[in-house]
Symmetry: D2
Subunit: 482 residues, 4 copies
Amino acid sequence: MKNANVKPAAGRLGILIVGNGAVATTFVTGVLLARRGLGKPIGSMTQYDKVRVKTSPNPSEGGEKCYLHYGEIVPLAKLDDLVFGCWDVYPQNAYQAAIYAEVLRKEDIDPVRDELEQIVPMTAAFDKDYAKRLDGTNVKRRPTPQPLPSGRGIDTISADNFGEIGQYSPPCEGGARGGSDLIPTRWEMVELLREDIRRFKAEKKCDRVVVLWAASTEIYVPVDKEVHYSLETLEAAMKADDRKRIAPSMCYAYAALSEGCPFIMGAPNTTVDIPAMWELAEKMHMPIAGKDFKTGQTLVKSGFAPIIGTRCLALDGWFSTNILGNRDGLVLDEPANFHTKEVSKLSTLETILRGDEQPELYGDYYHKVRINYYPPRNDNKESWDNIDIRGWLGYPMQIKINFLCRDSILAAPVCLDLCLLMDLAARAGRWGTQRFLSFFLKSPMHDYTQGELPVNHLYQQHTMLRNALREMGGYEPDEEMD
Amino acid sequence: MKNANVKPAAGRLGILIVGNGAVATTFVTGVLLARRGLGKPIGSMTQYDKVRVKTSPNPSEGGEKCYLHYGEIVPLAKLDDLVFGCWDVYPQNAYQAAIYAEVLRKEDIDPVRDELEQIVPMTAAFDKDYAKRLDGTNVKRRPTPQPLPSGRGIDTISADNFGEIGQYSPPCEGGARGGSDLIPTRWEMVELLREDIRRFKAEKKCDRVVVLWAASTEIYVPVDKEVHYSLETLEAAMKADDRKRIAPSMCYAYAALSEGCPFIMGAPNTTVDIPAMWELAEKMHMPIAGKDFKTGQTLVKSGFAPIIGTRCLALDGWFSTNILGNRDGLVLDEPANFHTKEVSKLSTLETILRGDEQPELYGDYYHKVRINYYPPRNDNKESWDNIDIRGWLGYPMQIKINFLCRDSILAAPVCLDLCLLMDLAARAGRWGTQRFLSFFLKSPMHDYTQGELPVNHLYQQHTMLRNALREMGGYEPDEEMD
Amino acid sequence: MKNANVKPAAGRLGILIVGNGAVATTFVTGVLLARRGLGKPIGSMTQYDKVRVKTSPNPSEGGEKCYLHYGEIVPLAKLDDLVFGCWDVYPQNAYQAAIYAEVLRKEDIDPVRDELEQIVPMTAAFDKDYAKRLDGTNVKRRPTPQPLPSGRGIDTISADNFGEIGQYSPPCEGGARGGSDLIPTRWEMVELLREDIRRFKAEKKCDRVVVLWAASTEIYVPVDKEVHYSLETLEAAMKADDRKRIAPSMCYAYAALSEGCPFIMGAPNTTVDIPAMWELAEKMHMPIAGKDFKTGQTLVKSGFAPIIGTRCLALDGWFSTNILGNRDGLVLDEPANFHTKEVSKLSTLETILRGDEQPELYGDYYHKVRINYYPPRNDNKESWDNIDIRGWLGYPMQIKINFLCRDSILAAPVCLDLCLLMDLAARAGRWGTQRFLSFFLKSPMHDYTQGELPVNHLYQQHTMLRNALREMGGYEPDEEMD
Amino acid sequence: MKNANVKPAAGRLGILIVGNGAVATTFVTGVLLARRGLGKPIGSMTQYDKVRVKTSPNPSEGGEKCYLHYGEIVPLAKLDDLVFGCWDVYPQNAYQAAIYAEVLRKEDIDPVRDELEQIVPMTAAFDKDYAKRLDGTNVKRRPTPQPLPSGRGIDTISADNFGEIGQYSPPCEGGARGGSDLIPTRWEMVELLREDIRRFKAEKKCDRVVVLWAASTEIYVPVDKEVHYSLETLEAAMKADDRKRIAPSMCYAYAALSEGCPFIMGAPNTTVDIPAMWELAEKMHMPIAGKDFKTGQTLVKSGFAPIIGTRCLALDGWFSTNILGNRDGLVLDEPANFHTKEVSKLSTLETILRGDEQPELYGDYYHKVRINYYPPRNDNKESWDNIDIRGWLGYPMQIKINFLCRDSILAAPVCLDLCLLMDLAARAGRWGTQRFLSFFLKSPMHDYTQGELPVNHLYQQHTMLRNALREMGGYEPDEEMD
């Protein structure tokens, strides 16, 4: 290993997950099993992929080429060094949650039951308006409902309120539904979450912590230049408890970055996809990554669309439908939450099959994405794509792809890779949006304020990933061709 | 255009096609329509694809990047300069054959009816043992059946036999089935075909000629070191009329190369996939390309397998079935012919998902390919693939791909591109196997005698293609990444 | 033929179609072609199906069994005796509309071009609120906008208004969108339509007329007991121009029945699916049939669900999605119109797989239907069904059905059969809902006020159809078994 | 219950199964679980289906109709009264075999482990020439290889040979493969099997025994009039050890019938589908049933083809492919065994969509069935059907059905139903081919020597089944319509 400029992966790496559901528990259980040799982390790039590198960085010296695992190129945290924690609106521990999720068989979970039972969710910073179908009670509350800042306008909130608020739910029955005045303000949420992170890090004796959002899709929050374009206005809105424009997820991201933790957005929420967060990431010198884990249908789409584009076949239409039955599906059955997802999923094709570059081929295709809540299948998501293409002289052909996938099984290795690679990025001194991680994301973040385009083409993403590793490892870029 | 070292594409380019069936007539009709502006050559890389090049070949000089069409990088023959001819066992002209094929609608063929009617097949060098289901009578014959060389051993045939044999069928009713002694010897076939090429080139005033095999799959001919490994033994076997080891297609290839014409094998026949032909290509300084046009199912497979491999998902099995009803399907319904195709189609996965490199992921998958003759659909081939993969902790998932394709619609642009790029290669002084054309081929030729592996990964093939164009155009290679 | 009690099919049968779109023009063109021997009316029961009958009506006499076509059992109108007319919001004649629909190839339409061109739509009784996506101008208008009945309350409208209104559009540009005060009242619509029917019948010298709705789905009109449960209140609402509760389609049905014409509802509109219309049908001694032609997905569903039910397999879920691109799809892309369709399509399973009878098998399945507007495919609708079943010990299995159908190609023979059989029913003295025609309908009408259940099981429907024919033909019922 | 003429189901019913593989163990395990209330026998008609009957057998008396379970109409053996035994070439007991089969989860098998372990296979009457891929050693042998009857001609064998042969394998290593002279003659097999049956019946104190073939498909044995058309010649061939024309399965059937046990052929073997066996069944007054359990693809086909036929749509082609990986698939990968299956599967369509009755619709369709051994999926068979149909004016449409089924899960309830209903038939005094059981069979037996046609239409089969029950129960037939 040559490792120019990357700090070593010494000590323990804490992984704090927002959401203790199907994805999180599958991820955690798998890591615990893998490090005991009881399961294979299949699908994980950091554990399996190999990168071609030249042993000499100078090609003219005729350095030999060889294939190395990521960990042989850069210093990655080891599975043995990972420590897990989480927040969730439901109080069940990770073992209970894993059993409830029904992704993994009980017999596969049981060998690490003890470890899982020790992962008990901290109370969540939750606002039911952002996920109407969820109903948990393990949420942060204001201990004594106080008069809220009058008018809720910016700047009217005083810091004096924060002293008394605590983390644990009062024994009243009301729950979060009991009244929105029990919900902490957005700024209070930030403070409480920062406290959580600090306490977790200390208790678990972690050297570093990464925060990973593996919770539900929130309702769609349109980017608002007045609030989301600068750190100053963002903070002001948080302090003013502007609940419409500050999603709870933003409090997590803000808290993580403020505490010096990389933040990963695994849902399609626009949380860190706004200039204000980029500013915070820059200020804190911390990396961010998002958004939306690239799992089933979009994974296939970002790999299949290039087949069409590479062969210069024309596209008339692409219809994508999904049926899914887990909690994710339930949340997405609410139109406001679906909209967030839809925006994320629709963007894939546009940058792969570009009408501006090939107007005769891609100037006018019809792209539609549908997601349907369908309980009988639980986590076993299924997608069906119909693709209408045209070839020689415009003659039409059709392709249908039916993917019987498992959402969490595909998401878990992505969680692992993103956590390890974000930790790496932080140690390599990289901050802001990590475009080299686009490979793992359905809707890769990019600086849309500058007209920058995302890269959705799976193989271009793969090359970006490998070249970043080469760079961090002190090797030169490579065309990937023998 | 910078064009280091490529001769200009001056004059007319003759394209002589073996087989006047669905693929050939779709290809020819499309070119004729396209050059009148009546149809679009969709799917053709030479007509649509763009390659990123740096305007300055020296990267350190900071040359700007731009996207150019192939024809802007290298001198390609223009559609207007193409002249078509063909051989076929059926005497119908290209208009009749196009109507019979039922690939294109009559209303799309009619505008170029006149031009198509002038394309009348020359008699084919045919041996029914190589395609039992075909039955044509437009075949080369010996005028007066003479005693054949005794023993058919090597070296016993004298050149004296060749004077009397002619090209046109005698008016007897027997046809090719009348007796195998009416079939010219393999060496006579070569001589007759060379004469055909010379006459066509002279009559049509062509500057250059490319020979393209777009005929049926022959029965499987195992590579025999005694015969196929050197030009000398190959020629001897031809002269000895060794019908078991010399397929008729080899006579076409031999004739083409001997006349200074690049040869393209569009079927899975091993014709030029033997060292003896490589030797001939080298001797004549002519390029060869093969084998098997990459059209429907394999196109998808070579693009889809990388999705699995790129994400380090494990593969348990891949089952591919096809239903097809055209003449190609009829020929392949004969087990001996199918075997040739099967060998070609099976090789795709092995070099993309490699068990030697990733034994946990690809060490033990089951791959099966089935082709079924199913007349109701004619040229509208349909494939169905079932793919069994495994992810995180080995949990299984399934993908099914159903491709309702049109064989000839996908093959036609490949014909065009291969003809234009092989002509380019010849003008660029390239000879032997053109690996940069692997992109267009199901079973790309490679030097198996040296343990060389073929490249089947669609995107690696694409990079190879683009880099070869850059090289011929005088640009430096490129990682294809912005 | 024995024909107890059915009047002969003497003279010409007029078929007046509401809607001159894809379904109507495919139906009409096909009949015109078939009667010239230029096309086959495949899919038509009246033209192909055979029914087993006993030659002697008394089984104890041991009569022999034989298979007869419908026309050999009962007197059906001949294709040669049919005369077509239509209403539509677009003024194009049937030839223009058939070409526009792109269902049939131009070469198949042209042989009957002359006849089609003579079918010019009468102005439609149209209210854009019921089909927002439609935009035609060939609609009935009030010539001089007059003050509308004040209050629009029941009984406040006087008959005096009707004298001045005419059928043809004024030359103003405004169109129907110009102002809703240009739209005739519902009662005026009825009067105008009755006039249309009378004029058509006289001009075309028809002996009998059937009115067939082959137009779009209207928005969902919930059944309102105050208005829809008696003829008296229905008429009052029409006179009061109660546009919210009286759909335009009701005016067509009212007009048809009032003129002594059987009425068929081919869309899912509840038009005649209300007690008020049953009362009118009884009063006029006319048959009615509806609703929603059983074409692609529901045809398959009503035939496939019995496979599951017959074998006592359990059902967990059935997810049905459709993509369609014709005008029907456009209209259904509007949620209010889709809802009408959805209610119709969802009812199919409930009466085939009944949770009340087999609670362990069908007590708790999830059924979802989605329709998606997808323009690339036009009339070539495609459906995809996923069915989750369970067998022995509850082990799960899945079935996926992908139907690449053609909506109008499946609907056209249903139109023909319904017209001929409704005319038969009228001659047989049958009035009210014709349950024996459930076979042709997605959501068969039934007396829900009495708790009656519809029959959706395809084979039970088939038996009902055959037994009704036997009865009208004077034969005894039959178990259909040899 | 009225039960005219059916003996009561008193005492214990022994079920002797040939083959202790996936199907048999799933069947047995399920019954054992169901009778303890630990599992539901879903898919079983005898346990779930209800039949409409009139409480008064005389319709003129206006008897009321009601729906009854089979067991309420006729006296069926109870699950509690069943006793299981088996033969197999592998010595593993039913628990071991069930675990090996991997159809049911271990946790579902374990509750009845004790009972399963007591089911130990008797040695099989096996001839490896009939199933080359099988390799078991638990087979019947001749203890001391004696000179076989010279010439193997008819009548040369004497009864004296049988004294010494025993049932258990000698401890020699040779196994069945050691030499075919160790295999008992066919007649010896019969004798040994009869002895097995008698001993089982006595030991288990059974009142009645049914013999069920749930073993592999044997190689195709063409019906030979010289041997298979009369009982006399059949017996002679058995005695002459005519191994080519007497399959081992025939020995099982012969033994069963001779011992007064109904025999069920669950594979496509022609065992009892020959006049000689019909003669024996008549002689013994025993019922026979076969052949080939109707499970996945053919179940769907026999239910789906009627959709097409019922609506008078035309058929161009039907392509059926299967992938399966269990032992059944392995055996069928041998072409000679596949042929037996193919003949069975191909017959389904011919009698449902009849070209003789509807030549324009079904006069010329192409039907192809393929079965592929594909190990990754084990017992989870998967089928894919492509159906090409034509509608109005001959316009083409396509249907694709993808069934992810579980072979044994579908076969197990069929086993249960056939055993219970065959026992019923025997008690009802029915003998010979039981056509009313066609519902359960892929290729229902019928008297082809008289030109009789099988009934493959699923709903006609269902009506036949119900009417036979009504008849045995003393009720009149019913049209199944309300």
